[in-house]
Point group: C2
Chain length 242, copies 2
């Protein structure tokens, strides 16, 4: 069996973002990312700062720890990163979870395809806007979206773009136009990663969220969309493991 690099296993808690926002879920966070977004809120997964915490675990190990931590209080697991799409063979984890009637969600920036994407119940592709300083490879993104579509997986797929400024919003319009039939989520960015007072952060995030809503309401190119905050950041600020 393969060993996967795992940084955190925690929950149950709620999913704070995207297509299943509010869903009761367990989290499995994988280490490693092929990007280095300027505002990454999980930089510890790839910048070496948490490398002592990375454990090499088989799917069996992961499921045992999920069981131990979550008991009988979950039926949904979210795999996040880093970029979990770097991992080949993740079907070794997904399949036994499905056999236990546990649903599996996953988020990735869309820089790489894996065959096991087709088995994910809630797949969020989150291409990174200009403020991230990263560049989108449209050929790869086209290919991922097309494979999801060809295999009848659109109802299990969504796009999400995090927005920090007007340029990002313009990028979001472009993404939405290109993949008009994919459920599309806009999320307000959090650039207050140093703020350690959750109440202060919540006020700032709500102000930014209102700004984003105003912008989206004005844009006739962004009608068929959903605009969300990061609910967990409103609740718990920048704390890890919640």
């Amino acid at each position: 069996m393969n060993k996967f690099p795992i940084l955190e296993i925690f929950g149950p808690t709620i999913q704070g973002e995207g297509m299943v926002v509010g869903r009761k879920t367990m989290f499995v966070r994988t280490a490693g990312c092929d990007f280095s977004c300027a505002w990454c809120d999980s930089a510890f997964t790839w910048d070496g700062s948490a490398k002592e915490e990375v454990r090499r675990m088989t799917a069996e190990d992961i499921i045992a720890e999920l069981q131990e931590t979550g008991g009988d209080k979950y039926d949904h697991v979210t795999i996040s990163g880093g970029n979990p799409a770097l991992l080949k063979n993740l079907q070794e984890l997904i399949e036994p979870l499905h056999e236990k009637n546990i649903e599996v969600a996953l988020e990735t920036q869309g820089s790489r395809w894996q065959e096991w994407f087709l088995d994910i119940d809630d797949l969020t592709i989150s291409p990174k806007p200009p403020s991230s300083k990263m560049t989108t490879n449209w050929d790869i993104l086209d290919d991922i979206i097309q494979k999801q579509q060809t295999n009848g997986r659109l109802s299990h797929t969504s796009l999400k773009v995090v927005i920090f400024n007007d340029e990002d919003l313009h990028y979001a319009e472009k993404v939405h136009k290109r993949y008009a039939n994919i459920p599309f989520f806009l999320q307000v960015g959090n650039d207050d990663l140093e703020e350690d007072q959750p109440a202060e952060l919540a006020t700032n995030l709500l102000t930014k969220y209102e700004w984003l809503i105003d912008k989206v309401m004005e844009s006739s190119a962004l009608n068929h969309v959903r605009v969300l905050p990061q609910v967990h950041a409103l609740l718990w600020g920048n704390k890890r493991g919640v």
Copy 2:
């Protein structure tokens, strides 16, 4: 053409609750309710306090006003109340909206069935828990859920229960068990309807939301659920028309 009692038409704004939380939408609020929930946040729709504002409008009138207010900046309309399920013939509004490729959402407490439920894209049935002081008619609710199911409408249907206390949570467990295959949303109640400082209200609501999350995380009867705040109340407090 029939005339419908309309209290408010506004938007575009975001849907703050439930199955399409965050969705860019227009709102049409109908007057009249067969319930009188203790904590109703739209009591002006039925308690007589806004009766001068009620206008009798045909579907054509409503669509003209949506057009005038929302222009080309929406493709989704939410019909709320009061209880819009009191209105026969609402298909007169729904069908022409669909012809314009506009989706239609509707929320009702599940006290009455209408044939046009089958045409609603996002139907939220929100039975009222004990804290409302209302009584659930389970026969009617069973009948509504069964009709949605028989007609293949489950992917367009959700249940939502607003929670103020432990007794409500127990009620929610009962609802979820009875209709286990219907997407189920728990929403934190707002009993601060007099608070006119949005920032104060947001802090209180987040505290209550965290309480609800903790409770749901502890309950193995509430695994396949989503727990959400009222996003619009976090943003804009108790203000009407946003």
